[in-house]
Amino acid sequence: MAEALLQVQDLYKWYPIKGGLLGRTNGFVKAVDGATLSAEKGETLGVVGESGCGKTTLGRTALRLTQPTKGQILFDGQDITSLKGRKLKPLRRRMQIVFQDPYASLDPRQTVRSALTEPMRIHGLAKGRAEAERKALDLISKVGLNPDHLARYPHEFSGGQRQRIAVARALAVSPDFIVLDEPTSSLDVSVQSQILSLLKALQKDLDLTYMFISHNLAVVRQVCNRIAVMYLGRVVEMAETESLFRSPKHPYTKALLASVPIPDPKKRTELAVLEGDVPSPVNIPPGCRFRPRCEFATGRCAEVSPPMKEVRPGQRIECLYDIDFATRKKTEL
């Protein structure tokens, strides 16, 4: 097994809901509620799930953009769970993030040149203007834009170009690890594939590790080596991409995959419909959190919170049973 660059152990991120007479805490939004996963050096780890499943919070907490409530985050062997202030700065150089909305993630009053050189200034990575300029030129060509784009402002670019700038800015500090938070979901399909190809190429050239957060299973299938499926703040299944898509083991993964329409009318089948909505992360059902929507749920599911277990080499699920979906036969794990 390859070396893990990022390890997230039993991570919790609860946001308090304030209210009441004295502003006391009435409850928590349990955005991340005991998630465990790891990203190995050089791989692309996909994190998928529906809105509100905590995938974005997980990404941000892993980068220490927020303070986790509980749990442990190891980056390259170092425990970074409770680093604060200045101690985080060296970490910021090694970890970066690319956001969903490239326009909003760029300061509208900053030229591309300034956006690219600012991180270098912050971390003292370029000696003098000339070197910064040279590095900026290098970056801009790396992401497929022209040198004369450096003098422009974000609003002068198309969506795809803006995302290229955001990627270039992330690369400005030569990081090892980049969280890609829905990097293509605000883009058009024909442009989406350009960005995906760019990200793949950059990973190869610069030996990057990606955490690719997405709700789009089709995209995830094309770019990720391994995938973590999240549901209500927990990773419910983790597996190599191909085994996950060929034979998902968690009933949620199974339902999720079956509800994606396939762009081929010949393969038109009745979409499997998972009834109900995703429950709110405030009132998480006890026991297995997927139980209320699960067609295989038993009495035990309400009582026991299933631990993560390996069903097959490299494929782990948080479910009490190993279910054969064809025969609906359950084997206790």
Binding site: G19, G20, L21, L22
Partner: protein, 373 residues
Amino acid sequence: MKLYEYVLRRLALLVFVLLALAALIFYITRGLLPPAYALTQYVTPRMTSAERLILAQNLGVATSSCPSYAAFATSAKGCIVPLWGQFFGWLKTVLSGNWGYTVLPGYVAGTETTWNVFWVRFPYTAELAIGGTILTIAIAIPLGIVSATHANKAPDHASRVVAISGYSIPQFWFGYILQVVFVLYVALNGRGLLPVGGPLPTSCAICFANPGSVVTRTGFPVIDAILSGNFPYFWDSIVGLILPTVTLALTTIGALTRILRSSMVDALHQDYILLARSKGLRDRVVVYRHALRNALLPAITIAGLILAFLLGGVVVIEYVFDFPGVGQAAVLASTSFDLNFLELYVLVTAVIIVLTNLVVDVLYAKLDPRIRY
């Protein structure tokens, strides 16, 4: 959180704000002046030095160990209670309703209390402010709606000019202009059409100038006239309010119109308006049911600010129109150094504004289902 809990919390905050404001006002009117000033409105001319010392001690300004009034008056060491201690003494005194004797011109020294003077004058101001509020709402809301529904067309430009001119006009000047106009140029049989001074006009073409028999029960001229069944007096009180309220409302009409216009324009560009139109609803329904409900929300939140505008405006209006309310007295109080009157005025105004804001916030919560306390 329940609504009553929210109200309780807001009331606690309100008490805090009023206390802090009291401290600020106390600091300005007492802390910045020599301690002997504190006695000004409590002494009577015939008081002896010994009595004055006792008074100073009772008011919590002089220490109990202070040997003589002379020592107190010269701020001798150990004679003066520290400022924060004075504050509590002051608070105790004024909260019991003891605001001393008025030193306003027109009153014999040491005969009439500040408290009485304030409350006799207050109803006049209240009528003026209420009239101003009604006029503001009655004009500003339709104007704002017309402006927004005809955004960037002639009616919008016209209403923009009216609104901006409204809050660019010096109120004191406009008051005089109205007087000039209604005395010199708009007159019937040599008498100005509308009364230009005081709540009870004596020379105007359309008023009766007949105070008649009115029993003062509430202190509010209009209400007392109704209670006494004296129609001429009622009519005169109303007519007397016209010019002052128009002048008063001028500034606030502009402010409210502009805010309503912008929130309405904003609402009209929202997606839910497109949906409402796509449903084939009539324009009237789209504008009033769908847009206005949403647009009113930001507009009513500034009600507190508007009220502060109005209550500040009365000072000028009453001065210009020789209107016997508290605002006119404030200017007099400043020249005659009646600090207690000003303190009382500030605190009463603050209570009104803060309570209004509370009511507005509760109303907001009622109108906007998204807000849950």
